[in-house]
């Protein structure tokens, strides 16, 4: 037993986190920044953090992930990081020549009190930033929030630095992508294109972290939202913020700054969330929903109907990020499954409210918790008290899955031991079908393997 140290008795912990269900802000900021075309993320801190965040993203995507660091030394931690950041900006523009440098902080630079805003300003006025190039920044102290917060902060800084109102309004809709995979971003765009709607999605990591092998290493791959596109978001007709934790702040700022109205939706995971996404797109653009999309929806419903007897009443434990967990829980409920345990290390009241609304009537016995000490250890203890049929979450679920012999469907960040998440979406009607297939394969494969011999069924 790998996790033989997990007890089934719940012990109240006051200080300790065991096997976290979150990570730190900068990795989110780095991921978001990669969704700008020609952007080099920059970690203002010691080089270790940067190295860890790059490795985490590299392992998850199996793609090169570039980011620079201010390389703090002991002296920097005493005297402050201004000189390092200025030198870094100069070095980066001469050596790596990006269009944008997206600076995020680390625990260290936050705690010693570096004023990144002021340093970036100084860089601009003192000529460290060449004509037509940009430096943007956000603050990402990891002792606040989680990786999701870091993502949200970087997305918000995109609005802060670029969104502008011009004299000519644009017939386009902004899509602020909450934290999801390049495949999901691609799919959300595909749906809006199918409806004939012009959109600007930011950030957009498709064609950045899912690039083809060509024999060349493109330091700046072809994807990502461009600067002119980001600037134009101030002229858009409407904004859809997808996932309140990771995108609402940006949409709010865009409204304040450029008077672009917005609504906040869940990431379109599952039937109902996708319905809402499609309807919102239609409403905002005054475009009808094309038959091809209605047909996709019908196929998803058909699939659920075909297999509902196998899905019914299956107990599921989930962990990961609120923006994914909320629509995922809703989707499971719509398939008559039972999400019984849900944890997220990301703090914030919204999670609790959303889960209460979803679960109170339908699964009154459900347990959920987020924030401090909502970790994998707690989840495991719950599972030990009363087992589940399925586990959904990132790769760190594999220990529990093995120890308790529960099938694991990998959704979330990070996925370090399987592929496919960057290529096949879980959003939209088609993504929903993909998810059902994964869930059923996991459950039924186990059943076929383990049920009594006389019970093996050919037709299911």
């Amino acid at each position: 037993m790998l996790l033989r140290h997990t007890t089934d008795k719940i012990i109240e912990r006051e200080a300790l986190t065991i096997n976290p269900a979150k990570t730190c802000q900068p990795v989110g900021a780095m991921y978001a920044a990669l969704g700008i075309h020609g952007c080099l993320p920059h970690s203002h801190g010691s080089q270790g953090c940067c190295s860890y965040h790059r490795s985490a993203l590299t392992r998850h995507y199996k793609e090169p992930v570039m980011a620079a660091t201010s390389s703090f030394t002991e002296g920097t931690s005493v005297f402050g990081g201004q000189a390092n950041l200025l030198q870094a900006i100069e070095t980066i523009f001469t050596v790596y020549n990006p269009d944008v440098i997206a600076v995020h902080t680390t625990c260290l630079s936050e705690t010693i009190g570096d004023d990144v805003n002021q340093i970036c300003q100084k860089a601009r006025t003192e000529g460290y930033v060449p004509e037509g190039k940009f430096v943007i920044h956000c603050n990402t102290p990891s002792y606040v929030g989680s990786h999701v917060t870091g993502y949200a902060n970087m997305v918000t800084s995109m609005v802060k630095h670029f969104a502008t109102v011009s004299t000519t309004p644009k017939n386009q809709i902004n899509l602020v992508a909450g934290w999801c995979e390049p495949s999901d971003m691609r799919e959300m765009k595909r749906i809006s294109t199918q409806m004939g709607i012009k959109t600007v999605m930011f950030p957009d990591t498709s064609d950045v972290l899912d690039t083809p092998l060509t024999g060349k290493h493109e330091f700046y791959p072809s994807g990502g939202v461009t600067i002119p596109e980001l600037v134009s978001t101030g002229d858009s007709k409407f904004t859809l913020a997808l996932g309140s934790y990771s995108s609402e702040d940006a949409a709010t700022l865009l409204e304040t700054k450029c008077k672009v109205k917005f609504s906040v939706l869940d990431l379109p995971i599952g039937l109902q969330a996708t319905d809402k996404y499609v309807m919102a797109l239609s409403r905002a653009s005054k475009m009808p929903v094309p038959d091809s999309i209605t047909a996709d929806r019908g196929r998803l419903v058909d699939m659920i109907a075909d297999m509902h007897q196998y899905l019914y009443n299956k107990r599921v434990a989930l962990f990961g990020d609120p923006d994914t967990l909320v629509p995922l829980t809703e989707f499971l409920l719509s398939m008559d499954m039972k999400p019984v345990y849900i944890v997220s290390g990301t703090p914030g009241k919204k999670f609790e409210t959303a889960m209460t609304n979803l679960l109170l009537k339908k699964v009154p016995e459900a347990k959920f918790k987020n924030g401090q000490r909502a970790d994998m250890f707690l989840l495991h203890q719950w599972i030990k008290q009363e087992p589940v049929d399925l586990l959904i979450g990132n790769s760190y679920g594999k220990y529990i899955a093995r120890d308790e012999n529960i099938p694991l469907v990998r959704v979330g960040f990070p996925i370090l031991d399987r592929i496919g998440h960057s290529h096949f979406p879980i959003v939209g009607y088609q993504g929903g079908m993909g998810l059902i297939i994964k869930i059923l394969n996991a459950i039924l494969d186990k059943e076929d393997r383990e049920c009594a011999e006389e019970k093996v069924e050919l037709t299911m």
């Binding site: 790998l2 033989r4 140290h5 912990r13 006051e14 200080a15 300790l16 986190t17 065991i18 096997n19 976290p20 990570t23 900068p26 801190g45 010691s46 080089q47 270790g48 953090c49 190295s51 860890y52 490795s55 590299t58 199996k62 793609e63 090169p64 992930v65 980011a67 620079a68 660091t69 201010s70 390389s71 703090f72 030394t73 931690s77 950041l85 030198q87 870094a88 900006i89 070095t91 001469t94 050596v95 790596y96 680390t106 625990c107 260290l108 705690t111 102290p141 990891s142 002792y143 606040v144 092998l213 060509t214 024999g215 060349k216 290493h217 330091f219 290390g345 000490r373 250890f377 220990y399």
Partner: protein, 442 residues
């Protein structure tokens, strides 16, 4: 266009045979570089983490703990406590008011629950600046719970990964010598093998066949009690000079335990290690047994190696690994299977090793310290390498360039040490260099 090299880095790159100048290393990375280097904390953590019956608690914000959670594939034959991630998950109020209380509470909770043999408490950058008195808390808990509670002062900004090795060695040194059990006559400690993919177990088998008693393994499949008794061994056999030399030197000074530097990678080096240990004990029997093992293993392995060599002849490799000592073994091992090394680099090399590399390599080989992706891609293309040997961040770049890749770092999945390891290595290089996928990339 991107300029090829960071100015100010020229001295960290040399071409063997074209200059008499020594390479500049042990230099902090330039601000603004896409360095492949990690931090002090990382260094100390990877070294200590395989001690599987100890508690490893990371005092700091959550990230530092998450990124080092079960990351290395260091196998344990017993306890699995080390595969959990324990963190104090510092919050804003802790940053303002200090995290000592939280640390204390966490330690007590953990020790009460798991009864570990010792506890290592790592401080990260943040703790380095908020000024928690790690030492005092550790001391207090140590007294209350009567186990060694060892502070590992590893704020990342204090240097590179290599500096973290030293911090780890200092932590280990506080354990060594705190027990006094008698042990058999021909006893050694194995230092600097981390039992990645079970490598240590291969080595234990060779030593057992020779009649050598392995006292403590530091730190692969490591146990606190054995480490406490490590000073009783007659010899420290140190592999991968980077991480454990400091402890070996400390133990020599303090307990008079001599050390010997070896590499278990490649047939020559592996055999030399066994002979070296036998020679140390000045025992005829040991020597005979060592040569028997070598003979036996060579007979078993050489025919297979020869086959690989014929097929791989003329292939070119680029190496970029953590330490320069490992690079030396790799160059030799590659040569054995017909592969020529055309680029060699490491994150944190020493000047002596680099000098040796210069002598060892063919003329024109590029040698580089603390490189970055742009440089590496340029070198690899210029030298027309077929295979890249590196770590996690290099793998996808190599693939994008259409090169084969072999992980010789934490994430290797096959044991690469010893005779068996050489076979695995040859197999892995062959599989990746000859994969049909590369013909579709052009």
């Amino acid at each position: 266009m991107m300029s090829e090299f960071l100015t100010g880095r020229e001295k960290q790159i040399v071409r063997s045979g074209t200059t008499s100048e020594a390479i500049l290393c042990a230099k902090p990375s330039l601000a603004g570089s896409v360095s492949q280097r990690a931090c002090v904390f990382c260094g100390s953590r990877v070294v200590l983490y395989p001690i599987s019956d100890a508690l490893h608690l990371i005092h700091g914000p959550i990230g530092c703990a998450v990124y080092t959670w079960d990351i290395r594939g260091a196998l344990s034959s017993g306890p699995e406590l080390h595969r959990n991630s324990f963190s104090t998950d510092l919050q804003e109020k802790d940053v303002v008011f200090g995290g000592e209380k939280k640390l204390y509470a966490s330690l007590i909770e953990l020790i009460d629950r798991y009864k570990p043999k010792a506890a290592f408490v790592y401080s990260t950058c943040l703790v380095g600046v908020i000024g928690d008195d790690l030492e005092a808390v550790c001391k207090k808990v140590g007294l209350e719970k009567s186990i060694p509670v060892i502070p590992v002062q590893a704020p990342g900004f204090n240097g590179t990964k290599k500096d973290g090795y030293k911090v780890a060695c200092e932590a280990l040194a506080t354990l060594v010598g705190t027990s006094d059990r008698e042990i058999p006559k021909f006893s050694i400690n194995i230092l600097g093998d981390f039992n990645i993919a079970g490598e240590l177990w291969l080595l234990l088998d060779y030593y057992r066949r020779m009649g050598i008693h392995v006292n403590a393994t530091i730190t692969g499949d490591g146990r606190v009690d054995a480490i406490r008794n490590a000073h009783k061994a007659s010899l420290n056999v140190v592999q991968c000079s980077g991480s454990m030399m400091y402890l070996a030197k400390l133990m020599q000074e303090k307990y008079g335990v001599p050390f010997m530097r070896v590499s278990y990678f490649g047939l020559e080096d592996m055999s030399e290690a066994l002979y070296g240990v036998a020679k140390f004990f000045k025992d005829k029997d040991l020597m005979i047994k060592a040569s028997e093992i070598v003979k036996e293993e060579f007979l078993r392995i050489m025919p297979v190696i020869k086959e690989y060599k014929e097929k791989l002849q003329g292939k070119k490799a680029a190496i970029y690994v953590g330490g320069s000592f490992k690079a030396i073994s790799l160059i030799k091992a590659l040569r054995l299977i017909g592969v020529q090394t055309v680029v060699v680099g490491s994150q944190t090399g020493t000047s002596e090793d680099y000098e040796l590399i210069q002598q060892l390599c063919d003329e024109g080989t590029i040698i580089v310290d603390d490189s970055n992706p742009i440089e590496l891609s340029t070198f690899v293309k210029e030298k027309k390498a077929d295979i890249f040997i590196g770590g996690v961040k290099e793998r996808p770049i190599a693939y994008k360039l259409g090169l084969g890749f072999c992980d010789h770092n934490h994430e290797r999945k096959e044991a690469l040490a010893g005779y068996e390891g050489m076979l695995n290595f040859a197999k892995e290089i062959y599989a990746t260099a000859m994969s049909p996928v590369w013909q579709f990339t052009r």
